[in-house]
């Protein structure tokens, strides 16, 4: 009792502080050691050590996510509606606190010119206006927050429609009213949820069917009843949520959509050289996001496809049509392109923010899609890459009709080798900015199992690939062979055409016999 009487609240406070300070110091002591190591490795002095300590503590402190959550809790109960770049809509959902106002004049002009060029070359074009996370009358916005998103989208839509361009304004379906926003968007992320993405998919298919009356999409693919929905509760802390923690705006459930009907799809991510083939889930869903929730380090939004990449190529031989669609995208397309891969024979998805191997128009010229769709959110319209197409380069390519044979009907035998980068160089010094067609009759794989061979244009710096394709022998129809057209990048140096007897970087101990390869250049 005597001892208890001596222990005043103040002394307990002091003890608690000391325990907290010393424990935290001990747990985070590696920060100092790492800063010292880094400084001595770089031959830096005291000033550099100080900087390394400061950055070390802010980036490596243990329990950082718990502190973020605590901070968000404080912000919430101190009445903040706008905090750390995140605004709370009137319905409690999180969005940006500000967006740049965008002058859409150049975009409208360039897109109109693009549409004309596509029309002249016999291709359909649709501008798809994605919604920002706000209703069309801005009723959800808190006082003093102006995102400009609605204005930007309105001027784009009206400007393009005035120029006779086909426009699909998805805001009318997924963000017309506050109730729509609540239903079709994540609480804590800036994207639509998979219900919203599925509705967008349905509308896009309707639109494409209206533009290509000779092609039809089996209605079972777009019927929501034919899709299995698996709910992962409290699984997802979105982009906005990651800035303010789980206590400020909550967390989201994630609902995974998978078709109940049979599918046979291949998905190739060209710059990551990742090839997936099988049913819808094997081709498009990254199941690792569903082991356990990881609020701050992962985003299950990327469960479809895995993230934003330069080019993603989907092939579906069982689609029941011959629709070739090219989508110029932002991140809103990840679930949508996956759903579209069940409906169209071919879907290629190009992200203008990352793709730089050629101009967009050149890509279209060699890929030759039936329909091109530009799908953007108002928040990315300030990126000029979305309306710079390089049409002149494509026109030049279109005029190059004279064929020049680089090699013809050559048989190749690539023997298995222990290197992951086992390859054969089939052509050197490809002409920059030129169109080529590569073809083969048949492929037989041997050695370690591979889904196919990779044919790729190799950059002169020897470090990366440009255009590439995976040829899956199981997809080759008897007697038809395989043909692939590509455009080379406009860079100096020795551009090579390389064949790997497997997936690039994973071709160890794999071999292949390839019959009748031909390479033609168009001049």
């Amino acid at each position: 009792m005597k001892l208890l009487r001596k222990i005043s609240g103040l002394r307990i406070l002091a003890a608690v502080l000391l325990i907290y300070i010393f424990l935290t110091a001990a747990i985070n002591s590696p920060v100092l050691l790492n800063a010292y190591k880094l400084t001595t490795e770089n031959g830096g002095g005291f000033s550099e050590f100080i900087n390394n300590v400061k950055t070390g503590y802010t980036s490596q402190i243990k329990g950082k996510n718990d502190y973020i959550n605590l901070n968000g809790l404080f912000a919430k109960y101190s009445g903040r509606k706008v905090y750390n770049g995140v605004a709370t809509l009137k319905n409690g959902m999180l969005t940006n606190d500000k967006l740049k106002a965008v002058d859409t004049t150049l975009a409208i002009n360039n897109i109109s010119e693009f549409d004309k060029w596509l029309e002249d070359s016999g291709r359909e074009f649709v501008y798809v206006q994605e919604p920002h996370k706000v209703d069309m009358k801005n009723e959800l916005l808190p006082v003093g927050v102006d995102l400009h998103a609605t204005d930007t989208a309105n001027t784009m839509v009206s400007g393009l429609e005035e120029n006779g361009i086909d426009v699909l304004d998805l805001r009318e379906y997924v963000a017309k009213t506050p109730e729509d926003v609540e239903k079709y968007f994540y609480k804590t992320d800036h994207h639509w949820n998979n219900l919203g993405a599925f509705l967008a998919y349905q509308k896009i298919v309707e639109k494409v069917e209206s533009l290509l009356p000779n092609e039809k999409v089996n209605s079972k693919y777009t019927n929501t009843e034919n899709w299995k929905k698996t709910t992962y509760e409290d699984w997802f802390l979105g982009t906005h949520g990651k800035r303010v923690g789980v206590n400020f705006g909550g967390v989201d459930d994630y609902v995974l959509y998978e078709p109940k009907f049979d599918t046979e799809i291949s998905t190739y991510i060209t710059n990551h050289l990742a090839y997936y083939s099988g049913d819808f889930t094997e081709a498009n869903v990254r199941k690792e996001y569903f082991d356990q929730p990881n609020y701050f380090e992962e985003s299950p939004y990327c469960a479809y496809i895995g993230g934003d990449y330069h080019v993603v190529q989907h092939r579906n031989e069982n689609a029941g049509n011959n629709i070739k669609a090219l989508i110029l995208k932002d991140s809103f397309q990840l679930p949508v392109q996956s759903f579209l891969s069940t409906a169209f024979a071919e879907v290629e998805v190009l992200d203008p923010r990352y793709y730089n191997s050629s101009s967009i128009a050149e890509y279209i010229e060699v890929y030759d899609p039936d329909v091109v769709m530009l799908m953007v959110n108002p928040s990315v319209m300030y990126h000029k890459v979305y309306y710079n197409y390089g049409i002149d380069y494509a026109k030049k390519l279109a005029k190059a009709t004279e064929k020049s044979t680089i090699y013809k009907n050559v048989d190749l035998n690539i023997k298995p080798h222990e290197s992951q980068y086992n390859y054969i160089n089939t052509a050197n010094n490809l002409t920059p900015g030129a169109k080529y067609t590569f073809s083969l009759k048949d492929v037989t794989l041997n050695g370690k199992s591979q889904p196919g061979i990779t044919v790729a244009v190799f950059h002169p710096d020897g470090k990366r690939l440009h255009a590439s394709v995976v040829v899956d022998p199981s997809k080759l129809k008897d007697g038809e062979g395989f043909e692939w057209s590509f455009v080379t990048p406009r860079v100096k140096g020795n551009l090579k055409l390389i064949i790997y007897p497997g997936i690039y970087g994973k071709a160890a101990n794999s071999g292949a016999t390839i019959d009748d390869i031909t390479l033609i250049e168009y001049k």
């Binding site: 103040l10 002091a14 110091a25 009445g79």
Partner: protein, 474 residues
């Protein structure tokens, strides 16, 4: 280094504290001196040399004064040399850029003679220079000299009050340097004071700064937004500076030193004179003891001399705060009001007549806030523009921007206003009395709250919030 930084909380402080209490008492002063120099070097590695020069210089000045016979001319000369030397260092690093730029502005012919200088301001130079000068002057006045240069170095460079005060008098801690004993209760009180200061800085000052920073960055504001901005700045500067002082006092207690208070709820002052007895008290008493009193103070024969003395003090106060016309004007304006108060019966009326006291108290806080406009604005035209906007020059009375900031910062603003008055302490004491029979520990709840708020403050550091102290620049 800042107290409100992760490297201070989780590296410098625990190591300094632990080693301090492991070492025998005689070694502790040397350890604290070394760590204080490291603390200063963390922010300004090259200026540690200047700090050491200041310590050595003032040590010898004081020693010589001590050795020379009292009431002799040489003694006065050494004192004068000490003051000139200290003020020269301060002048070069703090005022040379301003003086050369002003000469260029007022006398363009000087542009051909010299360039505007580009000296970098060492952090805290005004504080430790004044502190060191006060020691030398006090030795001249008869206090025992400190013969151990390391102990004097500790007094000048001790990290809790090194870079933003309070300005500690040598007599306050002379005995504590040689004979201090930290009790558990003293240490615990230090912890609580540190929490108060840390939480004021992180959870009030830094947050209110967001409103003030926005307001002062705009060329045009509605009336309501202009007032909201200056109210937030008024609270920001108080919590920033008093928060730092409380952390300094708290850290001092944890190491066995008792510093004097630096703030006493200045915003409840009834007069401007009273405001300056409650705001930055260590600076006010410094100027009183080392400038005002030597000039004769208020015990002078003529009112003209009194006015002159007050002008010198307040001009110097303005200059001390910064090298710009804003600060000089700020100081002079306070001097004018205080002079009027001294020459009239305003202080007496404020104490006796309620009908006068309340309006004058409102006037006092409004004048303080207008003064802060001068303090915060980057130059005189900006300050003038801001003041005009406060009184309607922007054209709009209330706009969405004001509603936006009010909605987002209302809670912190309300808590800030409450915490700037003694009301919270009063309510807490009443609650203690009421709750004691029920066995509910109001104090325990309060302490637990302070610790939780401290963790919230740490969370801001983890999220890398920008949080420098305003008074660092002095």
């Amino acid at each position: 280094m800042l107290f409100t930084s992760l490297e201070f909380l989780f590296a410098f402080f625990p190591v300094t504290l632990a080693v301090n209490y492991i070492l025998p008492p005689k070694a502790r002063n040397y350890w604290l001196l070394i760590t204080s120099l490291l603390f200063y070097a963390w922010g300004e590695p090259k200026f540690v040399i200047m700090m050491l020069i200041s310590i050595i210089m003032n040590y010898f000045f004081a020693l010589f004064i001590h050795l020379v016979k009292k009431r002799t001319v040489p003694r006065r000369i050494i004192l004068a040399a000490a003051v000139v030397a200290n003020l020269s260092i301060l002048f070069v690093y703090k005022y040379m850029n301003f003086v050369t730029a002003s000469l260029h502005d007022f006398f363009p012919a000087t542009k051909t003679l010299f360039d505007v200088s580009q000296y970098v301001l060492p952090i805290g130079i005004s504080f430790f220079t004044f502190q060191a000068m006060s020691y030398v002057i006090d030795v001249y006045r008869g206090i025992p000299v400190q013969k151990n240069i390391f102990y004097l170095g500790l007094y000048i460079a001790f990290f809790p009050q090194l870079i933003a005060g309070p300005i500690v008098r040598y007599t306050t801690i002379a005995d504590q340097i040689n004979n201090r004993k930290t009790t558990v209760d003293m240490f615990s009180r230090g912890v609580l004071r540190f929490f108060y200061g840390f939480n004021k800085k992180m959870l009030l000052a830094n947050i209110l700064a967001q409103v003030a920073d926005y307001a002062f960055a705009q060329g045009e504001l509605s009336v309501a937004m202009a007032w909201l901005g200056i109210i937030c700045y008024t609270l920001q500067i108080f919590f920033d500076f008093s928060g730092y002082s409380e952390m300094a006092i708290g850290l001092g207690l944890m190491f066995g030193f008792k510093f004097l208070e630096n703030f006493d709820y200045p915003y409840i002052s009834k007069t401007i004179t009273e405001f300056w007895r409650r705001w930055h008290m260590s600076l006010g008493t410094w100027f009183r003891d080392y400038v005002y009193f030597p000039l004769g103070g208020s015990r002078v024969k003529s009112k003209a001399r009194l006015v002159f003395n007050l002008f010198i003090v307040w001009f110097a106060t303005g200059v001390w705060h910064g090298a710009s016309w804003n600060f000089i004007l700020w100081g002079v304006l306070y001097g004018i009001i205080i002079t009027i108060e001294k020459l009239t019966s305003i202080p007496s009326l404020s104490n006796k007549k309620r009908g006068f006291a309340i309006p004058y108290q409102v006037f006092t806080i409004l004048m303080v806030m207008c003064g802060w406009v001068l303090f915060r604005a980057i130059d005189l035209p900006s300050a003038t523009n801001y003041l005009k906007m406060m009184f309607g020059a922007g054209g709009t009375v209330i706009d969405n921007t004001f509603l936006y900031y009010l909605q987002n910062y209302f809670v912190i603003l309300a808590v800030g206003i409450l915490c700037s008055t003694p009301l919270l302490g009063f309510v807490s004491r009443k609650l203690q009395v009421v709750s004691r029979p029920m066995g509910i520990g109001v104090k325990t709840v309060a302490y637990a709250t302070q610790f939780l708020l401290f963790l919230v403050g740490v969370s801001f550091l983890v999220m890398n919030a920008h949080n420098p102290f305003i008074y660092f620049n002095f």
